[in-house]
């Protein structure tokens, strides 16, 4: 089945896949809890998504259709590179269409389109430990998770409010999973956090360099940390997409000249293209396209 000579289907040998699947099962059983696993060196560097790649390799079957996004886009170089890796080593079908994908590997975004029960989203995670900036020792943070001792994080959020008037974390915003484990959602913008709550799709997280796997099973409660008088709120650029006119999607700010010119476009390229194909237009839609 493999399309690269000398390597197993989806690159990893079956023993390694089995080890990863065992870690995944544990992870699903304890939502949000980090499971150490024997992460392997991959032919892509640490930091490029080796955790996500190992998780995807362990769950991918020949019938799957894979979508890979980085920053919400299918056409960023790293997304292209990872999609190609699986097209070569597993020969699976790939797509940019969120609806058509059975497995979506992502770095830094959750697609705008609501995911379904028959889909799995795999997150690439640089730092799985949500407490890492407050406590560098992993022996100590493990203890804090075991005791659900999360006061340190609440104090950090409180200090933000006293200094800035609001919580100043804009991405990798900590969440409480299933009312028990504090979890790093990976560096997605806080805008995406609410999508994780009660998501019908299985959410898997792989951190290759840090050698941790964790998961959120379908329909699990995921709450962004906040206070009663300072409820969690999301931010996005206060504009509409210049290409499709969407005013509710997460936007990239594109510099267009050296005089402060900006164009705001959907970060989710598939979302934007789907809307444009359906006839939606924005302020910068090329005339020829708008006329169709």
């Amino acid at each position: 089945m493999s399309t690269v000579e000398g390597y197993n289907f989806a690159y990893l040998d079956e023993q390694t896949k089995r080890m990863i699947r065992r870690a995944l099962l544990k992870a699903v059983a304890i939502p949000g809890h980090q499971i150490p696993f024997g992460s392997r060196e991959m032919p892509l560097p640490y930091g490029w998504g080796t955790g996500g790649i190992q998780v995807t390799a362990a769950i991918l079957g020949p019938e799957d259709t894979l979508k890979v996004i980085d920053q919400g886009a299918d056409d960023t170089t790293n997304a292209v590179s990872i999609r190609r890796f699986f097209a070569r080593t597993a020969g699976v079908a790939t797509t940019t269409d969120t609806e058509a994908a059975t497995v979506i590997q992502t770095r830094h975004r959750i697609p705008e389109k609501k995911l379904r029960e028959d889909q799995i989203i795999v997150y690439q995670v640089p730092q799985p430990e949500p407490l890492s900036r407050l406590e560098p020792s992993r022996a100590e943070t493990r203890r804090m998770h075991a005791l659900a001792e999360y006061g340190l994080m609440h104090v950090k959020l409180y200090e933000d409010i006293t200094r800035f008037g609001h919580i100043a974390i804009s991405y990798d915003y900590p969440v409480m999973v299933n009312g028990r484990h504090l979890m790093a959602p990976s560096p997605i913008p806080a805008f995406d956090n609410p999508k994780m709550d009660m998501m019908p799709a299985l959410q898997l997280f792989g951190a290759g360099r840090e050698k941790r796997i964790y998961a959120i099973p379908p329909y699990t409660s995921v709450k962004s940390l906040d206070f009663d008088d300072h409820p969690f709120r999301t931010t996005r650029a206060p504009h509409a997409c210049g290409l499709c006119g969407a005013d509710d999607s997460y936007l990239d700010e594109v510099v267009t000249d050296d005089k402060g010119g900006r164009l705001y476009v959907c970060s989710d390229t598939d979302h934007c293209e789907t809307r444009r194909a359906a006839g939606h237009t924005g302020s910068e839609t090329p005339v020829a396209e708008a006329a169709q």
Binding site: Y7, D13, P36, F37, G38, S39, R40, E41, M42, P43, P45, Y46, G47, W48, T50, D70, Q71, G72, D75, T76, N78, V80, S81, R84, R107, H108, R109, P126, P136, S137, R138, A139, F164, H166, A168, S170, Y171, D172, P187, P189, A190, F191, R209, K211, R212, T235, R236, A237, G242, L243, L251, D252, E253, V254, T256, D257, G261, V265, S267, E284
Partner: protein, 358 residues
């Protein structure tokens, strides 16, 4: 104002790889370097790549060096990524470094000792003058030879051990951990720590070892012995029930002897720091031995004050494949996160200016 969507990542990657290949080859008018030349003439580079790549294979290490244009960390990464795919046939029996075929063996703590000081092929007493004769091609004169003494050279520490002056190094039947199969956990046992150091970055170990000498976790080291030579690797297949020799590997071993004033439970005696690496790599082995001893601070009841004594700090940052990956991943696009930071900082600035105006 026109916006051209950033497309064509695939084409750009292919073009970049083609450019890289031609860059690697360099001026086609100059003869291409062969991996055999690298393996035999750039031996220390090959040794370093084998050690940090955790794979003893001179030919593949030479190939990796050629492929990486001499970038040794990139070469070690190539070797690591290949190594992961290899099946495990067996674990070797513990190596007997006392039975090594010695090329070099020196001790800084005794003027002379059984077996003598063997200088071997060392840069130690070369004068660092560029040798312009190497610009011209030619054969160096053959080195002098001496009749070989096949008898194994005992380790210097064994001489100290007789008097009980140095802590005993008792053999253990416990199965050692395997860092390449199980993730690090803390507290980490000494053999796991040594595994991590053995594949750790030479520059990192050098700097940390150096820091212990300058007062950050000092341990008063003496180079008890440094030996370089060929050690026999044996495995014991279960179906045979006896050990078979599968080949020799070149190793560098360093035994540091460190002062120890004694504690409530241990009398004053010398303690050990240990370094072992693939190939001829004395700098690495010595740095490793210093850091190994520094990381034993807690076990020996010493104050924990310095970076080299912090086991988590050392072990989580010694691996240059992990380090280079995470540092260099900052090159990947982060514009989604940056966008959220832009919105946050704009809001904070607006608040600050409003406050200032009031």
């Amino acid at each position: 104002m026109a916006y051209v969507a950033v497309k064509g990542g695939e084409k750009a990657i292919d073009a970049a790889h083609a450019w890289l290949a031609s860059d690697r080859r360099g001026d086609p008018a100059i003869a291409e370097v062969s991996t055999a030349q690298i393996a035999s003439q750039l031996g220390r580079a090959v040794d370093r790549v084998m050690a940090e790549g955790s794979l003893y294979d001179r030919d593949l290490a030479a190939l990796a060096i050629k492929q990486a244009q001499g970038d040794l960390i990139e070469a070690a990464f190539l070797l690591r990524a290949y190594r992961t795919t290899l099946p495990r046939f067996a674990y070797s029996l513990p190596l007997d470094t006392a039975a090594m075929q010695i090329r070099r063996r020196i001790s800084a703590v005794f003027k002379d000792l059984p077996g003598g000081q063997v200088l071997g092929p060392t840069y130690d007493y070369t004068h660092r003058l560029l040798d312009f004769a190497l610009l011209a091609e030619g054969q160096p004169p053959a080195p002098p030879t001496a009749p070989s003494d096949a008898a194994p050279l005992r380790r210097v520490n064994d001489f100290l051990g007789h008097e009980g002056l140095i802590e005993p190094d008792a053999p253990s039947d416990a199965t050692p951990g395997d860092l390449t199969r199980e993730p690090l956990t803390f507290p980490a046992s000494r053999e796991v720590r040594l595994q991590a150091l053995a594949r750790g970055d030479e520059g990192f170990l050098l700097a940390l070892g150096y820091s212990t000498q300058r007062g950050y976790g000092g341990s008063h080291p003496f180079a008890g012995e440094i030996r370089v030579g060929e050690a026999r690797v044996e495995i014991e297949p279960p179906e045979l029930g006896f050990a078979i020799d599968i080949g020799d590997i070149t190793l560098t071993e360093c035994q540091m002897v460190n002062q120890f004033k004694g504690s409530r439970t241990a009398p004053p005696q010398f303690t050990r720091g240990y370094g072992l690496t693939f190939g001829h790599a004395e700098r690495k082995a010595m740095g490793m031995a210093l850091v190994d001893r520094a990381m034993r601070a807690e076990e020996l009841g010493e104050d924990l004050t310095a970076p080299a004594q912090n086991v988590e700090f050392v072990l989580y940052h010694s691996d240059n494949i992990e380090g280079t990956g995470f540092v260099e991943h900052l090159k990947l696009p982060h514009y989604v996160d940056f966008q959220s930071e832009l919105e946050t900082i704009r809001r904070m600035r607006a608040d600050a200016m409003k406050d200032a105006a009031e």
